[in-house]
Symmetry: D2
C-alpha cells in the first residue's frame, strides 16, 4: 500500500480523497487544507485525518506520495517542497498559469528526480481512451482532422475567474492535451477567436467564455477545438477524429439508457451529466491506477510534467492569437 498525503480538500480534492480511500493499493494518510473545516470534513468522510500544516505531511518519512489539488497559484511551491522531501507527486492541472514559474518548478523537480503525474484525467475516460486506442490500432489510417467540443454546463463563480489563468489556460487546457495525446505529435501553429457570449461579467474580469481554435500539427493534420463555459443540456464533451479510412467519435455518455417517445418527439434521452466529476468519474479512478502502476514499476508516470508544460505552451500561443489575430507558432 502506497501511503498518500492530500493537499487541498475543495471540490476536486474531496473527490480525490474518496477515490484514494477506496483504492485497494493506496492509503490516504492525511489531508491538509488551508481551511481546516474543509480538511476535517474530507477526513471525516474518508476515515482519514486532517493535519494542520504542509510540514506535518511532508515530514512524515513513511509517506510515499502527495496529491496536490489546491488552488493553482500554490501548485508550484507544493510540487517543489514535496519533490525536495523526496515524495512522488500527483498534481492537478494546470501546473501554473505563468510559464516561467512552470520552468523554474520543472528544474527543481528534475533535480529531485521524483515521479510526477499531471491530472489530465480525460486521457483515461473510457470513451476517449477507446478512441485513442482505435486510432493507434490504425482503424482509420493516417489522421487528418479532429473536432473537439468542450462545453461546461455552468460557468465557475466569478471570484474564481481572475485567478484562473483564463478560459484557455484553465478549461480548454484539457483539450490541448487531448489533441497532443490523440495525434501523438505537437501542434506547430495555432489560430483562435474568442468571445464573451455567456456572461458579460466574465468579460469585465478580463476573460472570455467562448472560443474556437484551429491548430496545425507537425504532420499537417488540422485540429479544431470549440469551447464554452455554459451548456444548457449538460456537460457536452465530444471528440471526433477523422482519418484517411474513416472517423472515430467519442460520444457523450448518457445518464441512463432510457429513451422517450411521445407526440412531442422521439428517441429523447435525459440531459447529459451536469458536472465533470460525474461525467469523468471513471477517468479519475483510472488515473490513480496509472499513478500506482508507475510508482510500483519505476517507470515515470504519463502524462508527466512535460505534458503539463506543453499544454500550457499551447494555451499561451492560443491566447496570443486570439489577441493579435495572427497565426502563432507554439513555443518549445
Amino acid at each position: 500500500m502506497l501511503r498518500i498525503g492530500l493537499f487541498g480538500a475543495g471540490r476536486i480534492g474531496r473527490m480525490h480523497a474518496r477515490n484514494l480511500a477506496a483504492h485497494g493499493r493506496m492509503e490516504l494518510v492525511g489531508i491538509y487544507d488551508v481551511n481546516p473545516d474543509a480538511g476535517a470534513a474530507a477526513a471525516a468522510e474518508t476515515g482519514s485525518v486532517s493535519v494542520d500544516s504542509v510540514e506535518s505531511l511532508l515530514g512524515d518519512d513513511t509517506l510515499d506520495a502527495v496529491f496536490i489539488s489546491t488552488s493553482t497559484s500554490t501548485h508550484c511551491e507544493l510540487i517543489e517542497r514535496a519533490a525536495q522531501a523526496g515524495k512522488a507527486v500527483f498534481c492537478e492541472k494546470p501546473i501554473h498559469v505563468d510559464m516561467s514559474r512552470v520552468d523554474q518548478c520543472g528544474a527543481v523537480l528534475a533535480a529531485a528526480g521524483v515521479p510526477f503525474q499531471i491530472g489530465f484525467n480525460r486521457r483515461f475516460d473510457p470513451g476517449h481512451n477507446a478512441l485513442y486506442q482505435a486510432a493507434r490500432d490504425g482503424q482509420i489510417g493516417k489522421l487528418e482532422q479532429a473536432v473537439i467540443s468542450s462545453r461546461d454546463s455552468i460557468p465557475p463563480t466569478l471570484d474564481f475567474i481572475p485567478s484562473s489563468g483564463g478560459f484557455f489556460r484553465d478549461m480548454v487546457i484539457h483539450d490541448f492535451d487531448m489533441a497532443r495525446f490523440l495525434f501523438g505529435e505537437e501542434p506547430v501553429e495555432v489560430m483562435a477567436m474568442s468571445s464573451v457570449l455567456v456572461d458579460p461579467r466574465i468579460g469585465e474580469c478580463g476573460d472570455v467564455d467562448s472560443g474556437m481554435v484551429v491548430m496545425r500539427m507537425e504532420s499537417g493534420a488540422l485540429c479544431h477545438i470549440n469551447g464554452t463555459r455554459r451548456c444548457a443540456y449538460g456537460y457536452d464533451q465530444r471528440i471526433e477524429l477523422f482519418g484517411e479510412r474513416g472517423m472515430l467519435v467519442s460520444a457523450n455518455p448518457t445518464r441512463t439508457n432510457l429513451e422517450r417517445y411521445t407526440e412531442g418527439g422521439t428517441a429523447a434521452r435525459d440531459p447529459l451529466h451536469y458536472f465533470f466529476i460525474e461525467r469523468y468519474q471513471e477517468s479519475y479512478v483510472r488515473q490513480l491506477d496509472v499513478f500506482v502502476d508507475a510508482l510500483e514499476s519505476g517507470v515515470p508516470p504519463s502524462p508527466g510534467f512535460d505534458d503539463g508544460r506543453r499544454a500550457l505552451l499551447i494555451a499561451d500561443a492560443v491566447m496570443e492569437s486570439a489577441r493579435s489575430g495572427r497565426t502563432v507558432r507554439v513555443g518549445d
Copy 2:
C-alpha cells in the same frame, strides 16, 4: 408503356393514381369509382379520365392491366371479371375476408392464367427489404426469432370496422406476410391474445384494437408480432430479426435528421410519420416497378395470389387462437 385502368379512388386508390401517372413505364388510362366525384377528382389530379362503369375499362382491348383498390368486399368480383377479360391484375390486400370466397376467386384466376400481384408493399420498403436481403446473405446465420412491431397512429373510422374483416385480417395481415417473407417458410402454429385498449367502441363493433401473436415456423424459429390501432408518436413499424450470429433491425425512418438538445432532454427527434402513405411512400412506388418488370418479363409477379391467401390463413388461425385460448395450426 403498359396501359392501366384503376378501380377505386379512395385514399389509397388516389395514391396509386398519382404513382401510376408519374411512372415512366405505365400509362393510367382510366379510373372508375362508385362515387363519380372521387373518380373525377383523381382523374383531374393525374390527367386521366374518370369512367362510369367497370365495363368501360374492362371492355377496352388496349388495356393491359387493372389496379384494384376498392373496398375489400368487391375485390374478388373485380379480380374475376378482370381475369376473365384477360387483364393482368394488381389488387390491394386483403383479397377478401372470407377464405372460401378467396379460394373460389383463386380458381377463376388460375383458369384465366393472367398475372396477379397482391399489394403487400412493405416487402419493398427500403429498410425492411435491406433487412430481408441481409438475412438472405447469411449475415446473421440461421434465423431463430423475430419481433415485429406494428402500430398505426390512429384507428380507422368506426364505420369501417364492421366490414374490415377485423384487426388481424385488415391490419396485422401485412405483418403475417412479412413473417413469411423474412423467414422464407410458413408458420405451422400460432397463439394470440387480443384486447380492446384503445377505444371501447371498437369492441362494441365486435373487433379488437390491440393484439399479440406468437408463431412457430417450420424450422422451429419463433416469431412475435405486436400490434395496436393507436400510437401517440406516429406510425411505428419496426422489425427485428435475430439469428445465431446476430440481429438485424429495420428501425423507423425519421421525418428529418434533426436532433434537439435542451435542458428538457437530448438527441430528441421529431415524431414519426403519421400516415402509412408517407411512411411507406417508396415501397408503393417500388411495387409498381415489380409489377411492370413481371409483366414485361413474363415471370409471375411476387407477391402473388398464394401469398395473399396464406396471409389470410394465418389471420384466421390467429383469430381462432385469440378466441379459443389454444394453439392453432395454420391451414393449408
Copy 3:
C-alpha cells in the same frame, strides 16, 4: 454497520462478497461455501474469513443478516435455518424450483418474522428503474403493451441445466418479475411457445433454450417476453413499455461511447457486455442499499418473498402453456 454472513462463493456469491466488502454500511463477517477453497478465495479477496459450517455463521449472535447465493436446491433450507436463527435474509432467485417447497419455506419465514429480500436486482438497474419511474410518473399514460427482450450471451454449462429448474424458472424468471414490477399488477393468463434452437444437448437434458411468452395483465394490457440462451453480440436486455401517450425504452448500455465510421459501415459501436455481472453491475450494488435501508428503517424489503413466489407461479404457468398449447391461468 450491519454484520453480514455470506453463503455461497460461486460466481455470483463472490460478486456479492466484493460488493458487501466495499459497502459503507455493511461488514462482511464470514463466508461459507461447501467448497472450502471457494470460500477461502472469496475471503482472501475481501479481507473476510472463510468458515467451515453453516452453524458457525448462524450461531454468531452478532450477525444481523445472511446473503444466500448457494445452488438453488439449498435455498429453502438455508432461508429457514437463518430465519429461525433470527437473521434477516437476502436470497438469490429463484427461491426454489418446486412451488410446494416454496410455500413451506414461506410459512417458516412468516413464523420467524425476519426481513427477507429476493435478488431481483434488475429492478434497480439504472435504465430499467428510470423506465419504471417515468411510467409511474404517468409520462406515457395508461400502460397497454410491453416487449421485454432477454438474451443471454452464452448458455450455462450443460451440467447446470438439469438442476436449474429450466429455462423459464431459471432465466426468464427475472423478466416475469420485471413485468409485474413495471405494470404494477399481476398477469392473469399466459401463453408460451418454446424451442431448442441454440444447442440440441440442452434439449437432451429435457430443457429448452428459446422461448416466447404473451401474458394478459389484470387491466387487459398485454406483455410479451422473448428469450434465448445465446446472443452473438453480447448480453441483450431491453424493455419497451407502450402506453396511450407514448413509449419508454430501456436500451442496452454500451461498453463505451465510441462510434466507428468506415467504408464498411457507420455509427458502429462495440458489442454489448458479455456477462450479466458487468451488465447489471450497478443494480447489484443498489439492491444492497435497498436491503440496508429496509433493515435500518424496519420497513420490509422489496422485492420480498411474495415477489419471488409470484414470479415462480408465472414460470410454472408458462411451462404448462408451452407444454399443453393452451392459455393457462396464473395460480394464486
Copy 4:
C-alpha cells in the same frame, strides 16, 4: 407552366433536366450543351430537345427562364445574355471565381431587372432546413456557435481543379452560404488553415484538399467549418448549431434504417450516400419549387445574386487568411 431552357448537360445539368421534366409547373423546352452528344443524351432522357446554340434558346420569345449549369467560367456571360433577353435566371454556384467579374455581371443583371436564383440548394435540404426553422423559432435561444462539417466522398478529377476556383470557392462556398443563412447575419472576420492531406497532386495544381475555418459573426457568435475532399464512409455533411438554451444538429441521413448487431459490433448502419446528387436529392427538387413560386408571385427568389456574391466574398477572405496567417475582414 413555365417554359424553361437549360444550359449545360453535365452531371448536375442532367439532374436538373430530369427534375425539370418531372416538375408539375415547369416545362423543359430545350437543352444546350457545348458537347452536342451530352445535350442529346439529356434531351432523350427527358423528352426534351437538344438545340445547337445559345441563341436558339434565348431567341425563343415563349421561354420564361433559363437554368445555367455550365462550367463556372461561362456563368457570367450566360447570365448577362439571358438577362438582356428578359429571361429569369437560375444559376449554379459559384457565380464566378473572380469577384470583379461577378460585380460586372451583377450590374447587368440589375439593369435588366429579371429574377435571379443561385443554386445554394442545401438551404432546402429537409434536415438543414428544419434546423434553420427550429433556430428561427427560438428553440435554442440566442445563437452562439456553429460547427459545420463538410466532407465530400471523393475528390473531383484533377483536370477540374485548376479551373475550379479552388477548394474554398468551389466546395466550401456552400458552407459559407449556410453560415450566413443559419445565423441570419454576416461574418465580419475569418481565419483559416488549409492543407494538402488527401492527394499531393491537388497541391501540385496549386490547390488544397483540406481546410478549417473560424468566422466571427456580427453578433460575436463564432462559426467553425471543416472540410475535406475525401471521406471513406460517404458524403458526410453535418451541422450543429449551439445556442444559449441548447443545440440543434442536422445529422446525416442514412441510406436505409437497417442496423446490424454482430460479434464485430452493434448498431452499425450502412455507409452514407456517396454522391451529393443522392445526398441532396430532395433539396434539388425543393429549390425548383422556390424558383417557380418566386416567378409566379413576383417576389424576388431567395437565395439571390447577392447571396452568391457574399459567399464568394467570404471565400476570398478565407483564402487570403489561409495564405497570410492573419485574420481577414470580409469585404462588402
